[in-house]
């Protein structure tokens, strides 16, 4: 017997009922529908379901004609082995300056922009509907601040919060980040109970591999700090590391740092959960709405201009990740953050074989196995030029495939399904910028989380909401924008990539 399901996406077993549910919950645009239902994320990558989904959206979700766009096609066109990409010639892997120009903004308002008028005033306007902004909105609303509005220029998950690998760890080199991460991971473990949606935190541990002595010394210093702070991190030898991940080639590293309590989450529901929670408490989450200006008068921010009109604001929070400098410049503020592209690729779904997230701190290679069974990983690129670039490259697939198949030889016949990119939001000292803005009162900074804002957001947002409510908190002094002018940097060195 086979149940009478009407399957739309055979790869991921997505049914018509799934699409109905997605539309009912507000995921009626094609990118959100893909993320919410899983449609188009299997071996065929949407080649056999996109047409049905769009016809469905057009007819059932009233998707306007201008919004009938395909979800972003992600190479490769069909599943292709890691060994094929690993064998690409050196001249393809070698880098030339990126020929890409940033994509021009779509003229006019987004076709999916909500029609309702905006309120004339909000106590807090948060710019950026990523994990930081949404977590802050929920924390503020939970503390009774109901007049909060979040502006997001695209769909939820369009930025870096929807593009990261989902790794969460407490292994950092500065005590504050360890503390923030610990609290955040604890919150993730009870996220489903607090916010009603599964983020599938799987605590498979984080295994940092040291390929040379200097890296090992960094890991050792980290492990000592972690011990003091109550983390289970310890340095293990190659044999023990290979016991944890038997597929590793032990010749590729000399020792490892192991924390069994770190893990991976499924990033998207994190944003949806916070957004939904904030909405239920009265906050407004305005997607497909672009901020076009910040009104500053008499040294204070007064209003936020958008392509749907102006909202007066008592306080404005900049939480736009790599886009923060361009938003800050609207208020005449210069941020030192620099955007850098980071690329990621996902493999075919495999039966579980890999417990931890594995990372080479030196080369910047990292990979883990998602709850869906895919190997999701990336690799930093020392030659990557700065810029807001979210396009994919063949060079990345070649570099990643070489590194992964060398470290885990049994992956060589595994096939890659789709690649994408997001932007790191890099500060000069790899530490965030949070708190007041010197010279513009009411303008609050919440950016510069490099590539790890995702895993810090629960704690950072809680503390920020309390601090905004009047509580004292030294981190908003210590990580203030003024530190760069004053020359007191907070160097974090456990950065992947």
């Amino acid at each position: 017997m086979i149940a009478d399901k009407a399957i739309v996406c055979a790869c991921e077993d997505v049914t018509v009922a799934d699409l109905d549910e997605a539309v009912a919950r507000g995921f009626g645009d094609i990118e959100s529908m893909k993320r919410y239902t899983g449609l188009g994320t299997g071996p065929c990558q949407g080649k056999s379901c996109l047409a049905s989904a769009v016809r469905y959206c057009a007819d059932r979700a009233d998707l306007p004609p201008e919004a009938r766009v395909p979800f972003r096609a992600r190479p490769p066109l069909s599943p292709t082995t890691i060994s094929a990409f690993a064998g690409l010639p050196e001249s393809i892997v070698r880098h030339r300056e990126s020929p890409l120009q940033p994509q021009a903004a779509r003229p006019g308002p987004h076709p999916l922009q909500p029609r309702e008028p905006l309120p004339a005033h909000a106590s807090v306007v948060i710019i950026g509907g990523g994990i930081m902004g949404l977590a802050l909105a929920w924390n503020l609303a939970s503390r009774g601040e109901r007049n909060v509005i979040v502006f997001e220029r695209g769909y939820l998950c369009e930025g870096a919060s929807g593009r990261n690998g989902g790794g969460v760890r407490a292994q950092w080199s500065t005590p504050t980040l360890v503390e923030l991460a610990k609290e955040s991971i604890d919150f993730m473990a009870r996220f489903a109970q607090e916010l009603g949606i599964n983020v599938w935190l799987r605590r498979g541990g984080y295994l940092f591999l040291a390929e040379d002595e200097p890296t090992l010394r960094r890991l050792e210093a980290g492990a000592q700090l972690h011990k003091k702070l109550g983390l289970a991190t310890r340095i293990i030898d190659v044999g023990e590391a290979c016991g944890i991940v038997p597929e590793l080639d032990g010749k590729g590293f000399i020792a490892a740092s192991w924390n069994p309590e770190d893990g991976v989450v499924f990033p998207w529901p994190f944003l949806w959960g916070y957004a939904d929670g904030a909405r239920k408490l009265g906050a407004r989450i305005e997607t497909f709405t672009r901020v076009t200006g910040l009104d500053v008068e008499g040294g204070a921010v007064r209003a936020v201009e958008t392509d749907r009109g102006k909202v007066r604001a008592d306080r404005v929070v900049l939480a736009c990740g790599a886009w923060s400098p361009s938003l800050a410049s609207m208020a005449g503020v210069t941020l030192p953050n620099v955007p850098y592209r980071h690329e990621i690729v996902s493999s075919e779904p495999l039966k579980p074989f890999l417990g931890p997230l594995v990372s080479m701190l030196g080369s910047g290679l990292y990979f883990s196995q998602s709850m869906r069974g895919e190997i999701v990983g990336g690799m930093g690129d020392p030659e990557e030029p700065p810029g807001l670039n979210q396009t994919s490259s063949l060079r990345f697939l070649a570099r990643y495939s070489r590194a992964l198949s060398t470290l885990v030889p049994r992956t060589s016949a595994v096939k890659l399904l789709r690649q994408w990119a997001g932007c790191y939001d890099l500060t000069p000292d790899h530490s965030p910028i949070i708190g007041e803005t010197p010279g513009v009162s009411g303008l609050l900074q919440m950016s510069g989380f490099v590539g790890h804002g995702f895993m810090m957001a629960p704690a950072v947002a809680r503390r920020m909401a309390e601090w905004m409510g009047g509580a004292k908190d030294e981190i908003f002094e210590r990580f203030n924008l003024s530190r760069f002018a004053e020359g007191r940097l907070e160097k974090e060195t456990f950065i992947i990539g």
Binding site: A10, V16, V69, P89, W200, E348
Partner: protein, 454 residues
């Protein structure tokens, strides 16, 4: 004349012939369930026979999730079905199909309890994934770099015409075709108004000067950010970098211009049971019959929309199938039809129905409204969705069209897309059937000329 081959499926000996794919050999032996689906463990078999749908994934010689319809059968191959841990026929995990008869809402499953949530996580993790890690390790497959002034992706009528036109403008042209021969959809003889095999044979003769790469599949079109530059002799900054798979290794192709003429992809119609073994894409069955002579039974129900439905039904009849019913499902769930009302078709056992249901494993009955139609298999005939992915991933704009049943790459009259170095032709650009060659010629000419102007 046909060389017999023997291979195994889940350890049992099977027979096929040289020229079979793994999929055609299994169908020849009457095997229709190839795998269990990822979430509900529903039985699945091949659908598209074109390497695009992902319903026929098998483990072959220790490598997981290979498209059985694209793997040429070899003597002694070990094929294993996946995701049926307790046996493919009696997979008890199919219970999830009944426990969640509409759908399983994994986002909100057991959110009330941290403990139950953790249990759910452990269970979900164990059930996730499709294939096991490959048995063997392997070395990188050494790839190569090549250069071309104009690369044409797709060797159907539009691609052939584009390559010929670009070459006649003096460009050095590489024509890349995924299949074993040129012709694409023309070889299926579906559309009497469009070019057929004779056209392909004639035009292939005239491709002098065009380099043709067969069994070469384009995987991605990227802006060229590599250290490789254009050809030494003209020192152009070639803007395109195309990843092409030839067997196991990659060819990185540096090019001045790309013409995407990769055709379309067969689409299922989401009625209950469409995913069951025994429901196939109509074009897929035609391809299967053409390349291997395999037929999936003798009596077919053909379901679909518009002119594509009628033409595929006639082509299937010509290919040797009896037609139990030809069911026009225009306007059936979940969407209004984009296809024109079909021409009168007195030669076909025609029926209009909105409510469809396929029953049996493999499917032996189609229920169309109140009618129960016995058949050996169901063929789905919708217009193939344009394969926009190669061009759109590189930034080319697309537009949705109900008539085309998907997204076409937006082009002007000369096949220019919104990316200056990408051109599109044929179904990809919305010019299917008889309009294919002309759109190809225009795009090929414009691609070659735009290069000279640089």
């Amino acid at each position: 004349m046909t060389e017999p081959l023997s291979f195994t499926l889940d350890g049992e000996r099977q027979k096929g012939v040289r020229g079979d794919t793994v999929a055609s050999a299994l169908l020849r032996s009457g095997v229709t369930t190839f795998t269990r689906s990822i979430k509900y463990h529903r039985p699945r078999g091949p659908f598209c026979f074109a390497g695009s749908c992902g319903q026929c994934l098998l483990r072959v010689d220790g490598v997981p999730s290979l498209l059985a319809c694209r793997v040429p059968l070899e003597e002694g191959m070990r094929c294993e079905r996946q995701n049926g841990p307790l046996g493919m026929e009696a997979d008890v995990l199919r219970a999830s199909d009944f426990l969640f008869p509409k759908h399983l809402d994994h986002h909100h499953l057991l959110v009330g309890s941290q403990l139950l949530g953790r249990v759910a996580l452990e269970i979900a993790r164990r059930l996730a994934g499709l294939g096991r890690l490959p048995d063997e390790t392997g070395a990188p497959e050494r790839g190569t770099v090549a250069h071309a002034q104009v690369v044409v992706i797709g060797g159907g009528p539009a691609g052939i015409a584009a390559a010929r036109a670009a070459a006649s403008e003096g460009a050095q042209v590489l024509l890349v075709e995924r299949g074993r021969r040129l012709g694409g959809s023309a070889l299926l003889e579906i559309d009497p108004e469009a070019p057929g095999p004779e056209w392909v044979a004639r035009e292939t003769e005239r491709l002098g000067g065009v380099e043709v790469a067969l069994e070469a599949e384009a995987l991605g079109v990227y802006p060229n950010d590599s250290a490789e530059d254009g050809q030494a002799r003209d020192k152009t900054d070639a803007p395109a970098l195309i990843a092409i798979r030839r067997r196991q290794s990659l060819l990185a192709l540096i090019a001045d211009r790309v013409v995407v003429a990769a055709g379309g992809v067969s689409q299922p119609l989401p009625f209950p049971g469409v995913d069951r073994p025994g429901v196939y894409a109509a074009r897929g069955l035609l391809e299967l019959a053409r390349t291997t002579g395999v037929r999936v039974g003798s009596r077919l129900c053909v379901v679909g929309e518009g002119i594509e439905l009628l033409r595929c039904a006639r082509a299937l009849r010509t290919a040797g199938y009896a037609l139990a019913r030809v069911v026009d499902a225009s306007g059936s769930w979940p969407f209004a039809s984009g296809s024109d009302t079909p021409e009168p078709a007195p030669d076909l056992p025609f029926l209009r129905a909105r409510n469809l249901r396929a029953r049996g494993r493999p499917v032996r009955e189609l229920r169309a409204e109140s009618e129960r139609i016995a058949c050996d298999a169901v063929a789905v005939a919708l217009p193939p969705a344009p394969l926009h992915e190669l061009a759109s991933a590189a930034g080319a704009q697309t537009h949705f069209s109900r008539e085309l049943n998907g997204f076409a790459v937006s082009v002007d009259a000369s096949g220019r897309t919104t990316v200056p170095w990408i051109f599109a032709a044929g179904r990809v650009a919305g010019s299917s059937g008889a309009a294919g060659p002309q759109s190809g010629s225009a795009a090929g000419t414009a691609a070659a000329r735009s290069r000279e102007k640089r």
